[in-house]
Symmetry: C2
Subunit: 301 residues, 2 copies
Amino acid sequence: MKLTILGCYSATPRILTNPTSQVLEMRGNMFLIDCGEGTQVQLRKHKIKFSRIKHIFISHLHGDHFFGLVGVISTFRLLGREADLHIYGPKGIKEIITLQMKLADSWTNYNLIFHELTTTNSQCIFQDDKVEVHTIPLNHRVYTNGFLFKEKEGDRRLDINAANEANIDVAYYRKLKQGFDIINENGITIKNETVTKPAKKPKSYAFCSDTMYKEDIVPIIQNVDVLYHESTFLESQAHLTERTKHATAKEAATIAKKSNAGTLILGHYSTRYKDINDFKLEAEQVFDNVVLAKDGKVFNF
Amino acid sequence: MKLTILGCYSATPRILTNPTSQVLEMRGNMFLIDCGEGTQVQLRKHKIKFSRIKHIFISHLHGDHFFGLVGVISTFRLLGREADLHIYGPKGIKEIITLQMKLADSWTNYNLIFHELTTTNSQCIFQDDKVEVHTIPLNHRVYTNGFLFKEKEGDRRLDINAANEANIDVAYYRKLKQGFDIINENGITIKNETVTKPAKKPKSYAFCSDTMYKEDIVPIIQNVDVLYHESTFLESQAHLTERTKHATAKEAATIAKKSNAGTLILGHYSTRYKDINDFKLEAEQVFDNVVLAKDGKVFNF
């Protein structure tokens, strides 16, 4: 599981900082999460192949989370993309994009498939044989979802030396990975657990931005390995969270603690703060394992 | 007259090059012309005060000329702008912007005034006491206008030494600048031309992008001081101009020559070309005074 932060600041793109966008690699999928203005240039900078992105998840329709989407879609078209592209986002996103394509007389030559979201309960919006993605209903000024990315339980892992010693033909390896006992060439039953190891523990990642403190999400993200939770403010500006519907670093840490998250990544900093390390210090008063998102930072979990 | 090129490449924003946007300063006005993705960051980089921009002109609704507009409008709002902002562009531009504001529930707290363009004849779309702006109907894949910015005839310039010698009271200076003769303190009539110089020759700037070769524009821009004309291709790719409705460097130079332009600025280069100096060399075969637009370049005329 690899997470690349393309942008993690709130409000507006600036010379040195970018609005929200990140890329999550999970079991062969490359998910683009949010798409502020400038995302396509950030993708180029970080050498992320456009063709590997097949699914884009948009949390909400504030500009710092989606003004770069129409440019990404348009550039994919100009580069001759043929593969389908799926867009998951709030109702209205299809109208915004198609209106611009219509007025530019520039329709994509690839399939652009919109999955418009309206429910306020967590729901599974994507799955393949390895991964599933669920919405995390958030509390912001407009309809907003976070996204929970979960690896599915994988196959058991073969202990190749033990399998050789037990004289098992290669043809049975698939069955072994699926957990079955098998009979070897000498007619002896080989118990699965003697030649395989358990599957790797499936990993999970929760993206929660933008939102004010919302304890309802705790059951949805319980035991998540990595939680990205917005922290627009420090507690010293906590009085601003109600009106703007954003969270403080301390509140993000409280959600991480209650969810029993493995790691908390903070982001979506207001540009009013000079030193983002203050967010880490504040969160660490509540939760131990805190790291700071920074534009261009890559996390391997 | 000062022109700042924020971006001058075609198609998509890249790490080192930006799509079309430029700022023209003319007699106290600061006009933003086209607004590709990333324009607001380019404005910051080049220290152009957001508050000085009161008029934005959009040539057409292809992404590389206007995907940055909604971000500019949104950022002006976030920074607490109060002054009116006028947008001139093709019909449909208001719907695109207002739809996004509606879905983001983020209306501007300043007046956003759209001037939607539909005519295919040149028309005056803005004037104040010092400047006027006319459309230049172009020939592109979608409805497109260039823009002609013209200074109005200014006041005569006072020769302060001559005025002192002629014993003229300061109270009459305004009348002198307006071209009147006056009577001095000794009762002697002072002929205007003995104490003033002619007004500076009004300057003009024509922005023509995107378009294929269109000779019809020559009468509109006749004797323009500075002509920016797109040159997406070199003559070696001239076969592409019909389908894409773009122009070559040689065609741009031909328009400059026929218009008796003072200076030709080339831009909107296709990124397929490694050395943009080839555009200059090609144009110079037809027209003498050719310069190349580059992102960040400032021209003073």
